[in-house]
């Protein structure tokens, strides 16, 4: 059973606590959706650096033990950097929760399939030493799962995500400088830096992970 990405993201955005949470999105559809969602917490989105979202969030979590950091990563990105789970477990940041969107495709580069193995990411995470790792099957269960993770992380939640080749994923609509400045200002409690935002939707595959 898999859930539409947008349903996961809507549930996530509603569950985040502006007084507590920070959000990091790995490259791809999650990062491209963020400017179009009512995200009320400081958020930082990658448009490249595949596989870096979770260690980036770890650094943030270590720097800000007063905040919970939620990292969004795709299954392809996590496979590129699976060893990061050991790093996360060893660092032991209790305020880090990673959400892994599992759709078995490299969505941003045109929908190529991942290596055809039904990897059990929750089991891998537990094997790497994360104290909390579980699969969530319904968007309505995400808020409760995040609440369970909050005090005892680091944690990893696996989100089975529907792959829809016809989904109109918005393009990247913010520049890296804007993203960095807006994040820093939001973290300092300042008014947001004017962000690009908006933009029209385009079919997936309008950006490439690597140059052809």
């Amino acid at each position: 059973m898999s859930v539409a990405r947008r349903a996961w993201l809507d549930a996530l955005v509603a569950a985040l606590d502006p007084a507590r949470d920070l959000l990091v999105a790995g490259l791809g559809a999650n990062a491209r959706y963020l400017p179009h969602l009512p995200v009320r917490v400081p958020h930082f989105a990658l448009c490249d650096a595949m596989g870096a979202a979770i260690p980036l969030a770890l650094g943030m979590a270590l720097a800000r033990p007063d905040r919970r950091v939620v990292a969004l990563e795709g299954d392809g990105s996590l496979l590129m950097n699976l060893g990061t789970l050991v790093t996360v477990a060893a660092a032991g940041a209790p305020n880090l929760t990673a959400l892994v969107f599992v759709n078995h495709h490299y969505e941003s580069s045109g929908g190529q399939r991942l290596p055809a193995v039904p990897a059990d990411f929750a089991a891998v995470a537990r094997g790497a030493g994360l104290p909390t790792a579980e699969k969530i099957d319904a968007a309505g269960d995400l808020a409760a799962a995040l609440a369970r993770c909050a005090p005892g992380g680091p944690a990893l939640l696996v989100l089975p995500t529907a792959y829809d080749p016809a989904e109109m994923v918005p393009p990247y609509s913010e520049r890296p400088d804007e993203i960095r400045l807006s994040f820093r200002r939001a973290l300092q409690g300042l008014a947001p830096h004017p962000r690009g935002g908006g933009g029209t939707t385009r079919p997936r595959g309008d950006t490439r992970r690597r140059a052809p």
């Binding site: 595949m50 870096a52 650094g59 270590l62 720097a63 800000r64 790093t87 060893a90």
Partner: protein, 173 residues
């Protein structure tokens, strides 16, 4: 001194530790090599530095960037072999987002390191850093390395860019 012989004194390693503390660094994500192992014995004694043992060098870079975004200072401590792994994350995270990132690199394979199998990466490291537009500074001995670290940390903050300060075993003695 033999390149892999433990230095009898650790004045340089202690100077590095003190300089990182004085520069406000609190996180040290690291992948070890022999020389870094000696340095780590000093770094782990610090009351203000936290060493983060990472599985691969790109993780160390991302952790340092996350720390910087969160308002902390980090020093990525890796060997030049690991630095050579980091081209993509330097370009697509550090440089794309203009995040300060300070590297303290054990430089294997240059004229100060007679171990033959390090030589190819020693020859390629500086040209690679130049091609990546990463500023590179060589440590100038135990007496100078503390000043160089403080200058380097200040530079990356001002420039919002990466800088690699490389050291040899001699610089730790």
């Amino acid at each position: 001194m033999s390149p892999d012989a433990v230095p009898a004194t650790r004045g340089g390693a202690r100077a590095i530790t003190a300089a990182l503390e004085e520069a406000g660094v609190t996180l040290v994500p690291s992948v070890p090599d022999t020389w870094i192992g000696w340095l780590m014995e000093e770094l782990r004694r610090s009351r203000t530095l936290r060493v983060i043992d990472v599985a691969r060098e790109e993780d160390a870079v991302a952790i340092a960037c996350g720390a910087a975004l969160g308002g902390a200072r980090a020093a990525v401590v890796i060997q030049n072999a690991g630095l050579l792994n980091c081209g993509a994350v330097i370009a697509s995270l550090v440089q794309l987002y203009r995040i300060p990132c300070f590297f303290l690199v054990s430089y294997r394979g240059d004229a100060r390191d007679p171990v033959y199998y390090h030589a190819p990466k020693g020859e390629r490291t500086e040209p690679t850093l130049a091609a990546w537009s990463v500023r590179h500074v060589r440590a100038e001995g135990p007496a100078r390395i503390g000043v160089q670290i403080r200058q380097a940390v200040a530079w990356v903050e001002e420039a919002q860019a990466p800088l690699a300060l490389s050291f040899s075993a001699e610089d730790l003695a």
